[in-house]
């Protein structure tokens, strides 16, 4: 990704809008007793489009913003999301994306990684309360929601950042060449 000041501004807006939408909407709706967590999917998409460095920086920024707004321990979400973004970017640098299914599957897998990571960080910081088995169900459901949400996020963010993306091979519909003067 070519990061100019305008593209940086778009990335910043995407980050802020994503965090506000997650905290004010997605965290407050529950389907089958689990709320979608689309921030890891957003980080994965930005890592896929921008590379490992962009993914890591965006993941760190989103994590720090979330920790500030939820009065959590600073650095907890940053650590997990920067790792998530870095891994997504690393995938992009090693493999090509030939299908729209790839970002969706990657969002699902790395969201599960991020949810396990959040749990690991909390264990590292110390948990005084008992942990219910339903945490596992919550993680699995969140990763499933990330499959569908990540696919939509990928399409939307790719469109917004298109000016910055290195030219991708696009499949163009082949048309019959028109010859002037002939009907």
């Amino acid at each position: 990704m070519i990061v100019t000041p305008r593209i940086f501004a778009r990335l910043a807006v995407i980050t802020v809008v994503g965090v506000v939408l997650q905290l004010s909407y997605f965290s407050r709706v529950a389907v089958f007793d689990a709320s979608p967590d689309l921030l890891p999917a957003l980080v994965v998409v930005l890592g896929l489009l921008g590379g490992s460095l962009t993914g890591a920086v965006v993941g760190f920024s989103i994590g720090l913003l979330v920790d500030c707004l939820t009065a959590g321990t600073l650095g907890a979400s940053s650590l997990v999301l920067l790792g998530t973004g870095y891994l997504a970017g690393l995938f992009r640098e090693r493999f090509d994306i030939h299908s729209l299914l790839v970002p969706a599957v990657l969002c699902m897998a790395l969201t599960l990684f991020a949810e396990v990571g959040f749990g690991a960080v909390q264990v590292m910081l110390g948990i005084d309360a008992p942990v219910s088995v339903l945490v596992i169900r919550d993680m699995v459901l969140k990763s499933i929601y990330a499959f569908f949400g990540g696919w939509l996020i990928y399409l939307a963010v790719r469109r917004i950042l298109r000016p910055a993306l290195v030219e991708e091979a696009r499949v163009r519909r082949r048309r019959q060449p028109r010859v002037l003067g002939r009907v």
């Binding site: 529950a30 007793d33 890591a56 650590l79 008992p130």
Partner: protein, 282 residues
């Protein structure tokens, strides 16, 4: 050129990881000072607007989700209503006797719960944390509305949590389902005392811990805040605020104690409006 890029990438990654660990070390167990307050102050109006704008969309999703749960909920509520009617009748009799006895011993104070010493401030939830490990909500009332850290927070049905941090126009509330939450509570009737902790990942289950195995706790009993006071120390929560209802008790044989499972009265997964009890004794 390529190696330079790789070195730069690794350096930035290392810097970010070190920064994360530094932040964790510095802010673990205490507030970050101005940074979180500043960011929350800037973003809380945006979150408020987003909350109001997205409410119809949120209600639509909730409608679909609640439809699936409605049948079981209906049966449970009918049982609860019948039980509440019986208890209300018994309560009226007890109140009458209590008033008469108080008059006899010369106590002319209002027998209402200690929460009458507080000034309730109504607030709306504008944001919620995304993970189950850290269960907090942001409300649109702050220090400008006399909200302070450790103020108890209730919803219509019962206790919800306490205020964990405050800014001018907003505050964060640590819910009963947050991993840092612990509330001293008692079972009524009976008076068995213990500590309410969350079962992380399940907002419909709280654990009443440190109950001796010999104590008799049965399904359907109500759990309220104990509001204990002793030698200048006291609970953060006033006495007799409803917390939940006992669903089951399991004996931990190796520890000679029992774990009592409590279903909270407040719907911790779907909070919209709540009241902060401000102005009480600290």
């Amino acid at each position: 050129m390529y190696r330079k890029q790789v070195r730069r990438r690794r350096a930035v990654l290392a810097l970010l990881i070190i920064s994360s660990f530094l932040l964790l070390t510095i802010t673990f167990g205490r507030s970050s000072g101005g940074l979180q307050d500043g960011v929350s102050t800037i973003f809380s109006p945006l979150q408020g607007v987003a909350d109001r704008a997205l409410k119809p969309a949120r209600d639509m999703v909730d409608w679909f989700d609640k439809t699936f749960e409605a049948r079981g909920e209906n049966e449970r509520l009918e049982e609860q209503l019948a039980k509440a009617r019986r208890e209300a009748a018994a309560g009226q009799v007890a109140l009458q006797e209590n008033a008469q006895l108080r008059k006899l011993v010369g106590l002319d104070r209002d027998p209402a719960i200690a929460a009458s010493a507080y000034e309730p401030v109504t607030a709306r939830v504008i944001a919620r944390s995304p993970t189950v490990w850290h269960s907090t909500v942001t409300i649109d009332a702050g220090s400008d509305d006399d909200v302070a850290v450790d103020d108890p927070v209730i919803a219509g049905e019962g206790l919800v949590g306490r205020v964990s941090s405050v800014q001018a126009g907003s505050a964060q509330v640590a819910l009963l389902s947050d991993n840092s939450s612990a509330v001293s509570a008692k079972v009524v009737p009976g008076g068995v005392q213990g500590s309410i902790e969350p079962a992380i990942g399940n907002p419909e289950d709280l654990i009443l811990d440190f109950i001796n195995a010999s104590k008799d706790v049965t399904r359907g009993q109500t759990v309220v805040t104990s509001g204990w006071q002793a030698q200048g120390l006291g609970s953060l929560f006033p006495a007799n605020i409803p917390i939940g209802e006992v669903t089951r008790a399991s004996i931990l044989e190796q520890e000679a104690s029992q774990q009592v499972h409590v279903r909270p009265f407040a719907d911790l997964a779907n909070l919209d409006l709540m009241q902060v009890l401000t102005g009480g004794p600290k």
